[in-house]
């Protein structure tokens, strides 16, 4: 079977800041993978590359065997990190979900599309605010709408950047359950950035530990060794200059 994601020597720089360095990964299809790492470790950058928003400076990347440029955007659903979202745009929640179906801001949507959107909103317990303007939604509510925008597409690959931020604990378990369930039913591959190790451990199958470099990818059972965690989480403040990988060069 074709792998969901393959990367070879992937590098990304913002100006002269190395955000990702030599990432080599092979992720099979239908895995639910969590990505863990300190702030600024390149998690969002990695998802943004997969979503086709930014292009790597060097290295290769394939999603379902295709290059990012040629793959249909129908296959990929991306939920950005909440701190990057803009509430200033005049729109009601359901329009955002419909944009997930239309791949643009449709002037009109069909009833069939609206039914689909409403169905997903119901599943996410978000139907009660489907007609509310974006600027009246709480952070958690907005996050759900973005998730709905993604799920309504029934993508083959889901890229979730901290989808549980701002969502209360009961709902979060619920949310993880919904995502997990969705992945089983639709056989979706999922990459989810999270800072919540417990939920990563409970809900996902594989774990990526990232700190600019790939520290670990594999089964969650072996992920949380002391050595891995040391490498991932030491010196989070100095990630520009120092990681354990190149300490010997300093």
């Amino acid at each position: 079977m074709i792998n969901a994601i393959e990367t070879k020597d992937l590098n990304f720089r913002y100006g002269n800041i190395n955000a990702l360095e030599n990432i080599n990964l092979i992720i099979p299809q239908e895995k639910f993978v969590s990505i863990l790492g300190p702030n600024g470790s390149g998690k969002s950058t990695f998802l943004r590359i997969l979503a086709g928003i930014i292009k790597p400076n060097s290295g290769k990347i394939k999603v379902f065997g295709q290059s990012i440029d040629e793959i249909s955007s129908d296959l990929i659903g991306y939920v950005p990190q909440i701190k990057t979202l803009d509430r200033n745009f005049p729109a009601i929640a359901i329009e955002l979900v419909l944009s997930g179906l239309n791949h643009r801001w449709a002037l009109n949507s069909t009833n069939e599309q609206k039914d689909k959107a409403n169905f997903v909103l119901e599943q996410l317990n978000a139907i009660s605010y489907s007609k509310k303007p974006l600027n009246q939604l709480s952070g958690g509510q907005l996050q759900r709408i973005y998730l709905a925008r993604c799920l309504v597409r029934e993508p083959q690959l889901l890229l979730l950047d901290e989808p549980a931020t701002g969502i209360d604990m009961i709902c979060e378990t619920n949310l993880n359950g919904i995502i997990q369930n969705f992945s089983k039913v639709k056989r979706t591959s999922i990459l989810m950035v999270t800072h919540d190790w417990t939920s990563a451990y409970e809900h996902t199958e594989d774990v990526i530990l990232l700190n600019r470099k790939l520290i670990y990818y594999g089964d969650k059972k072996n992920a949380f060794s002391n050595e891995n965690l040391m490498q991932t989480f030491s010196h989070p403040q100095h990630h520009h200059h120092i990681t354990f990988g190149n300490l010997s060069n300093v």
């Binding site: 086709g52 928003i53 955007s73 979202l85 803009d86 005049p90 729109a91 944009s99 801001w105």
Partner: protein
């Protein structure tokens, strides 16, 4: 004094103000939501350079001003994309280049003052048939692109990165939008005047923004406000015999402040 309403220049002005009310406010919606009002101002001043060149060469200024302003729009978009400088800085630089060129062009021409004032402040009497035709062409172009581009520009306005992720050619789309805005600016010059164009384009969108829940509503409302306020402003300006650009923009501003206060009190 009512005989003015049967003069041909009045009808030319009326047609232009209706068509421009539509196009300018339509693009104004994107300008407001993308927070690029300064672009309108920058392009208007770029147009000044083009107009001045036209006056210097003694050809129809519009014919020079349109390509001249388009060129500046493309430069501005290009530098916005390629450099780390903020939009304000880039527009400000091109703004100054165009104005400097304009001043130099005009100073090379003898007896330039009257014409130049027309363009700075706008004048109904200066409106010619060619202005009517360019606004008709602009309106057709706008209607034509509406169906393809509204939903794409809107999506990119809402979230630039999601639009890229959905494989929209956002850069190309931006060039097209900025070019159409540039043409709108040039065509508005004679009636509104260079100094007030930016406000004229932006205010209907800003009023609509205060009153709308969705971007679709905002678009429709801005167009209605743009057309109606243009017509009313034009009529008032003729009745009280004051420059129409100034009267229209002042009328729009009063409308905007009223809506703002009304919304606050509610």
């Amino acid at each position: 004094m009512f005989e003015i309403f049967i003069l041909p220049f009045f009808y030319r002005a009326l047609i232009i103000i209706i068509l421009l009310g539509f196009t300018a406010s339509y693009y104004g919606v994107f300008i407001v939501q993308r927070k690029m009002s300064f672009l309108g101002s920058g392009l208007a001043h770029s147009a000044f350079g083009g107009v001045a060149l036209g006056i210097l060469l003694s050809v129809q200024p519009l014919i020079i001003a349109i390509p001249f302003t388009l060129l500046f729009a493309i430069f501005i978009s290009y530098f916005q994309e390629k450099s780390n400088l903020s939009s304000d800085t880039i527009i400000g630089i091109f703004f100054s280049i165009a104005v400097s060129l304009g001043i130099i062009f005009l100073s090379l021409k003898e007896n330039y003052t009257t014409d130049a004032f027309t363009y700075l402040f706008g004048s109904l009497l200066s409106v010619q048939l060619i202005d009517v035709w360019t606004s008709i062409i602009l309106t057709i172009l706008t209607t034509f692109t509406f169906f393809k581009y509204w939903s794409r520009w809107t999506y990119a306005t809402f979230d630039y990165e999601l639009a890229i992720a959905d494989k929209l050619p956002v850069r190309k789309d931006n060039y097209i939008l900025n070019s159409l805005i540039a043409i709108t600016v040039v065509v508005s010059i004679k009636i509104i005047g260079i100094i007030l164009i930016s406000a004229y384009i932006v205010i209907p969108g800003a009023i609509a923004r205060l009153l709308s829940k969705t971007f679709r509503q905002m678009t429709i409302l801005a167009i209605i406000i743009g057309v109606v306020s243009g017509i009313i402003g034009l009529l008032i300006s003729i009745l009280v015999d004051l420059p129409s650009g100034a009267v229209i923009v002042l009328f729009q501003s009063i409308l905007m402040i009223s809506v703002f206060i009304f919304k606050r009190e509610k």
